[in-house]
């Protein structure tokens, strides 16, 4: 106990030194935590986007569909089977889909697209495609209207043309791009929302009509009310061709998908491919999406589905993304490793200085009869206290930031946003809440402090008192 008191007093005898040493630990913990939180959060967000706007966590498919995605590898919809699937404790909803590829064209523009036959009402459980409808768009007319409105500030008038033809699914994103603070929102937003208003229609079962991705609509130069022509090969090599009116435009968070998606009502899509009542997949919305629970659910469902079907998990369906993330995760770890190395040397450097500075003091203490062992243990306690202080302070600062970040993800705008989109990512960085990675970062930093302690201890035991006194 005496040792602890002594160590504590020693710490505050030279405040600046203590502060500097613990600050280096603080930064180590702070950066490691923040970095990891952002990385984990962004992965999770990306997966969620991919899963929720496309595959879902679990899908039932024809056994050959995944390897050969042709419309012949489909299965007939069976309501009895659906009931059996739904009776599983973890399954909330079964969402029937028919997806295939087609050539889409408008005049001379042609592009390969992903055609997705959906039941719009059922997608509420999974892809929530109705929430992703474009609500605002800064068309050249709306920008003109903004410019002519005397109540709108010059800054907005300057910014607006930069975002010409950008589509928005929420008013808040529009507000962000136009650099309007929350304070001014009530003043400008109602007018801006009116100018940029974008009217969508809905698609319904039995009515020919499509929703297309925002990017695709721009590529094909199609707007609401225009006609898109789809041509493909249908069930059993029939010809699949149709003309559909564009009822609405969606903006999906995955630019890759936004570039090629065409939504059709399920029955219309089945008609197009001459595959009445056939499905390519039954996506399942789940209650609990924990990896282990999903694996168990997949196993349970495997026994339910018929022989020519198989149950697939999101990992299998997003293989490319999973391996991409794995690679990125590893490079992230290397980055953190380098960060640790730099910081470890920083901590070690301060300890080195500290030991050199106090050489005479150590010498005097031993000369007047203090045991080297006792001195070493006080020194160790001092270092541990410094480490603890740094870790606690670092974790505290990081926690505050991370907790704030979880609620307020980093959203990029303008050029930066475009850069993200070019890489096929949503211009958004999300923090990951407090989790087991905290412990790991703290343990590693603590380990660094322990290693650094070794140096002064060795110095103390190897000290020649006479030399030390002269220092």
């Amino acid at each position: 106990m005496n040792n602890l008191i002594l160590a504590w007093r020693n710490l505050w005898r030279n405040r600046r030194r203590t502060m500097i040493t613990s600050a280096s630990v603080l930064f180590a913990v702070f950066f490691a935590l923040l970095f990891r939180s952002l990385q984990l959060g962004s992965y999770d967000h990306m997966f969620r986007n991919a899963i929720e706007s496309y595959t879902g966590y679990i899908q039932v498919q024809h056994k050959d569909f995944w390897d050969e995605k042709i419309v012949d590898n489909t299965f007939a919809y069976d309501s009895q089977k659906e009931q059996q699937l739904l009776s599983d404790e973890n399954v909330i909803a079964a969402i029937p889909r028919f997806e295939s590829f087609a050539l889409a064209s408008n005049g001379p523009q042609t592009k390969g697209v992903l055609v997705m036959g959906v039941v719009p009402e059922k997608e509420v459980h999974l892809s929530k495609v109705t929430d992703k409808m474009v609500k605002y768009r800064l068309t050249s007319e709306s920008i003109e209207m903004i410019k002519q409105d005397p109540n709108i500030s010059e800054k907005i008038k300057e910014l607006a043309p930069l975002f010409e033809n950008t589509a928005y699914t929420t008013a808040s994103r529009l507000q962000l791009d136009l650099g309007i603070s929350d304070k001014d929102a009530s003043k400008y937003m109602p007018a801006l929302e009116r100018f940029a208003q974008f009217e969508n229609g809905s698609i319904r079962m039995g009515e020919p009509g499509v929703w297309v991705g925002d990017k695709l609509s721009q590529y094909l130069q199609l707007g609401i009310g225009d006609t898109i022509v789809l041509i493909s090969q249908g069930y059993h090599a029939t010809t699949a061709a149709g003309k559909y009116e564009i009822k609405g435009i969606v903006k999906l968070p995955l630019p890759d998908l936004d570039n090629k998606i065409v939504y059709l009502p399920l029955d219309v899509c089945q008609g197009l491919y001459n595959a009445e009542d056939m499905l390519t997949s039954l996506a399942l919305a789940v209650e609990d999406n924990d990896d282990k629970v999903i694996a168990e659910t997949v196993e349970r469902l495997g026994a339910v589905v018929s022989e020519d079907q198989k149950v697939m998990e999101w990992r299998e369906m997003n293989e490319v993304m999973v391996s991409q993330m794995d690679a990125d995760d590893k490079s992230g770890m290397i980055m953190i490793g380098i960060l640790y190395l730099v910081i470890a040397f920083g901590v070690f450097g301060t300890v080195l200085m500290l030991t050199a500075e106090r050489k005479r003091e150590f010498g005097v203490l031993v000369a007047i009869g203090m045991q080297k062992k006792k001195l070493a243990s006080i020194m160790t306690l001092e270092m541990l206290l410094i480490g603890l202080l740094g870790i606690l302070a670092g974790a505290a600062v990081a926690t505050v930031l991370i907790l704030y970040g979880v609620e307020h993800p980093l959203i990029f705008k303008g050029e930066m946003a475009k850069m993200f989109e070019e890489y096929g990512m949503e211009p958004k960085m999300v923090f990951w809440g407090i989790d087991s990675y905290y412990i790991w970062q703290i343990v590693i930093v603590a380990l660094m402090v322990f290693l650094a302690i070794g140096y002064p201890i060795r110095k103390i035991f190897g000290m020649k008192v006479v030399n030390a006194l002269r220092a």
């Binding site: 012949d72 064209s105 022509v229 059993h236 090599a237 029939t238 010809t239 061709a241 149709g242 003309k243």
Partner: protein, 255 residues
């Protein structure tokens, strides 16, 4: 003198006659192929109604279509059934091919990338239709034997593609009925001499005054349980069809 001359002629006729007949029987392989080819395709034009059945391991499907051809250069095909495909037409003019789809009112020129794809999902590729080269002029022919096929005595002729010919096969072996000049069996090999497909002719009937095989089976060598069967329901030869009949306008109009 006169009598002498007459007798000489008669003698030489008696002597030479059988020789001439033997000569007539002993056609060159090229002649045999030409005869069989013309018999089937008509010397000038043909108009036909055919049914094509696509057989796959798990399903099969039949398409009926009407077909007009003029020489090797021009052909027009109109799908009559199933209802969903009805009204689609295909036009071949020399080396180009178009497809018209009435549901989307689009005329599409088939791009080179689609050439190796099956026509209407069959084993018959677009390339087969387009580069349906002259079996007479693009190959060197050689009789390699005589064999009986399906109870008929046939010439077995090996046809090797000429160096500069734009053909998709390296060589072909054809079995041609000796009496009626019918293609009864063909084996088509690629340039590496691998068998790609076998074509079999059967159901020999008289159509528009000609004896022809009315059913042709196309069996790809690599795919199991997969074939395409073409059945000729009606065919007329050498009716007057103008070249202007094979036009893009007519593709959209024709019924």
């Amino acid at each position: 003198m006169n009598a002498m001359k007459t007798r000489k002629i008669i003698v030489s006729l008696i002597l030479l006659g059988p020789a001439l007949m033997i000569f007539a029987q002993d056609l060159t392989p090229k002649e045999i192929i030409r005869k069989a080819d013309e018999k089937f395709n008509g010397e000038k034009t043909s108009t036909s109604i055919m049914a094509m059945t696509i057989v796959r391991p798990t399903w099969e499907r039949t398409i009926e279509f009407k077909n007009w051809t003029s020489g090797r250069e021009y052909s027009l095909t109109l799908i009559n059934s199933p209802a969903k495909d009805k009204g689609q037409s295909f036009l071949k003019r020399q080396q180009e091919m178009w497809s018209w789809n009435p549901t989307i009112s689009r005329l599409i020129k088939l791009p080179p990338s689609m050439m190796s794809q099956g026509w209407m999902g069959s084993d018959y590729t677009n390339d087969d239709i387009l580069k349906e080269s002259s079996v007479v002029n693009d190959y060197d022919h050689q009789i390699v034997g005589e064999e009986e096929y399906d109870g008929r005595l046939c010439y077995k002729i090996k046809m090797v593609a000429k160096e500069d010919a734009a053909v998709i096969w390296g060589h072909q072996v054809r079995w041609i009925d000796k009496k009626d000049f019918l293609f009864l069996k063909s084996e088509l090999y690629d340039e590496d001499a691998y068998l790609v497909r076998t074509e079999l002719g059967s159901k020999i009937k008289t159509m528009d005054g000609r004896l022809i095989p009315t059913m042709i089976e196309l069996i790809p060598a690599e795919e199991e349980n997969q074939k395409t069967i073409i059945e000729i329901k009606e065919i007329r030869f050498n009716q007057e069809i103008k070249d202007s009949f094979f036009s893009q306008q007519n593709m959209k109009r024709i019924r």
